[in-house]
Amino acid sequence: MSIGIKVKKGLDLHLEGAIGDTGAVTFKPTPTVAITPDDFVGLVPKMEVREGDAVLAGQPLFHDKVHENIKIVSPAAGTVKAVERGERRKILRVVVEPAEDFSASVTIETEGVLSSPEKARDMLLRSGLWAMMTQRPYATIPDPDAEIRDIFVSGFDSAPLAAAPGLQRNDYATLEAGVKLLQLITKGKVYVSRRQADNIPDIKGAEMVNAAGPHPSGNPGTIIAAVKPVNKGETVICLDLPTLLRIGATALTGKTQGTTIVALTGSELKQPKIASTLIGAEMKALLSGDIKEDNRHHRIISGNVLTGIATPIDGYLHLPYRQVTVIPEGDDVDEFMGWASLSPAKMSMSPSFPGHFLRRKLFRPDARLQGGRRAMIMSGEYDKVMPLDILPEYLIKAILARDIDRMEQLGIYEVAPEDFALAEYADTSKLELQKIVREGLDYLRKELE
């Protein structure tokens, strides 16, 4: 059984710096790893370890203040080097220095996790994997007390420069175990999306969703909207394929997975490639010797160009730990009358730029806004790249007005900030749509919970 989805409204950005011939994946060691509590939206961290403590891989570093059973675990065995705090003692990150044998791991109780819903849920919470999933509504980490209507696994990443899943033959049994476990915690189905190019076979127990079309065809929000939209009062869980693999592996072995496969991409890398490293690795270690030495300012993004987090070179890899993109920053460029430019190097959806017609051209955009912030002037721009049955302009206005009733009516429970990423890219008024949606979701959660 499978469902077919064809995404029409969307956009594939053709950027320089895609991964070409993958070849062998090398492991990049890192002197320290860091877990950033802010990556887990909705979680208020409470420390379980102190600086100097020895930890094993899979040992909790901190948990959520409200739901104490939501644990965030150390990706590696070693010593807690620092608990970095910011204003009002907010925990910025927990830094762990991996030991020589960083894979030494605690054993997680796996007996019955593939048959008992409670044990399955406990395993996810205890192993830190729960917090690597998100829920709709609110786009936060899932509420452990909520009844889960369905679970959506995005089987591929359609974002710019993202790598293909790259599954091995023996991964499928692991995925099946993951699906079996997830099936226990929902009353509905476990949906797994896939695209034709990846040749992923049916996964036992899962409802396969065949998605086609440009980005955001890989986003869970797109799949949910097409399969079964989220109504008020319902909760669904979203996760990506690497997380499903980790869930399966932990269920089968009792060990947490501290390593991750990262696609190193972007126009400012000498050779884009796939690397393996520890979760939360240092950017410096991950990108050592890979960034072009051209004396220009670079923007290092943990994630993709649409939804990633700008990270300084001395920063760390952020959730979802699967991509790094390096692009020019652009704050060292003086462009004379850029708004009048007819240069084919300019990337745009507008036919007024010659580059629009160069279908095969790869672009090398920088991080500039390419214009000034304005009020919402043009209409219909967001709709062109949003495949959801949502009226984005009206939802954004309702959020800005903090009008809860209107937000609900216009479908705020169905969206996550990432669903607005392409619209934010396309917006000629350069509004910060993802930030607006994030603030709206946080406001709603605070008011209603």
Partner: protein
């Protein structure tokens, strides 16, 4: 260019708070961002942005207006030469005459409008926005050439302040600013905005042209129809004459060699502009198409039930769409994204009704030979209501799904 950038960077501290000229900071920023793309990079959300910005959007609209503007210059000269009874029409003299006739109007419109915008931007400590660039060129194009300069200044000031700035500036105006300027003139100074003699320039400029005889009349075809009392299509056609007393053909109306407001007479040039706007995706094809569709349907209905009480009902569909400001309003006024409908379904309804009402007013109200302006303004007021209905349909769909 580097030298220019250096100069700007050197001048910047003077305009920063504490500097001697900090009262002009918005103006300085405006010029700086006009000359050099801002270096500001994204701080949240997406890391790359589309190269399209509102400056380019506005400039493309101005470029699309250029054919009409150039033709308007020629036609202004041409009508003046006709009115003076000339038999030769030297091209460059006509162009120069038209240019000199319209230049002061463009200057007044920009100086007044931008002056207010700069002041308000500085007062609000905001960057100068480019919305008035288009409005400023539209205003002289939709007014009769004989409109006194001081009237343009007063109307522009009224419109920019009370339609745009009090609501928050560019992107917040509830009515089309240029059209309100014209409506203000139309209702405040009706004698100067309609009638027989305002659409043709009367006086020589810098030695070009000649003085037009006293008592000269040069009514627009629509004005002639309204007072013709024609009882059939044939009578109607004979009632429309050019200034040289020759019958007006559909071809004349399409090319635009007839008296009328400065930039709106040539349907051909308007269509060239429309092509530019549609090819670049700036204007909504949904609106433009449905305005013409609405106008055609209404013109057809009027023509089927033609009656001597309303002579304009004898006009054919083609003539209706070519005459007066209809085409200009359909292409440059109705699709204004800020004041038109924002939902796709709403755009069809908005456009269609604009077309219908424009022809309706023109045909069945002899007092207002031009209905396009009023139609667009009326629909500007109704656009939020149409959008509301479309949004409610989306909401109801969601509620039904939620209950199911």
């Amino acid at each position: 260019m580097k030298a220019l950038k250096k100069l700007l960077d050197k001048a910047r501290p003077t305009f920063e708070p504490g500097g001697k000229l900090h009262a002009f900071r918005s103006v300085f920023d405006g010029f700086d961002t006009f000359l050099f793309t801002p270096r500001e990079t994204s701080r949240s959300g997406v890391h790359i942005h589309d190269s399209m910005d509102s400056k380019r959007t506005m400039i493309i609209v101005i470029a699309a207006l250029l054919p009409c503007l150039l033709f308007g210059m020629y036609n202004t000269g041409y009508q003046h030469w006709l009115a003076t009874g000339a038999s030769e029409f030297p091209f460059w003299s006509l162009m120069l005459y038209g240019f000199l006739a319209v230049l002061p109007r463009i200057v007044v419109s920009y100086v007044v409008g931008l002056g207010i915008e700069f002041t308000v931007a500085q007062w609000r400590r905001e960057e100068i926005q480019e919305g008035f660039l288009v409005t400023g060129i539209l205003i002289p194009m939709i007014c009769p050439i004989e409109t006194p300069l001081w009237m343009i200044a007063v109307a522009t000031a009224f419109s920019v302040i009370f339609v745009k700035e009090v609501f928050g500036g560019t992107g917040y105006n509830i009515f089309n600013v240029a059209l309100v300027t014209r409506a203000f003139l139309f209702f405040a100074y009706p004698a100067k905005m309609s009638g027989d003699s305002v659409f043709v320039a009367h006086n020589p400029i810098l030695g070009l042209g000649d003085k037009v005889a006293d008592g000269f009349t040069g009514a627009t075809p629509l004005g002639q129809i309204a007072t013709s009392g024609a009882a059939s299509h044939t009578q109607l056609l004979s009632s429309m004459t050019t200034i040289a007393n020759e019958p007006v053909t559909t071809w004349d109306m399409f090319l635009g060699l007839i008296p009328g407001s400065f930039g709106e007479t040539s349907t051909l040039c308007i269509l060239i502009g429309a092509l530019m706007l549609l090819a670049t995706g700036i204007a909504s094809w949904r609106i433009i198409l449905s305005v013409f569709a609405g106008g055609a349907v209404m013109a057809l209905v009027a023509n089927i039930f033609a009656t001597p009480t309303y002579p304009a009902s004898f006009l054919s569909v083609g003539d209706q769409l070519c005459l007066g400001g209809f085409a200009f309003a359909a292409v440059f006024m109705a699709p204004d994204p800020v004041t038109s409908c924002r939902t796709n379904a709403g755009k069809y309804i908005y456009g269609f009704l604009t077309g219908v009402i424009a022809i309706l007013i023109r045909t069945y109200n002899n007092g207002y030979p031009e209905g396009a302006m009023l139609a667009v303004l009326l629909m500007n007021a109704l656009a939020p209501l149409i959008d509301y209905c479309v949004v409610e349909a989306n909401v109801r769909r969601r509620m039904r799904r939620s209950r199911a």
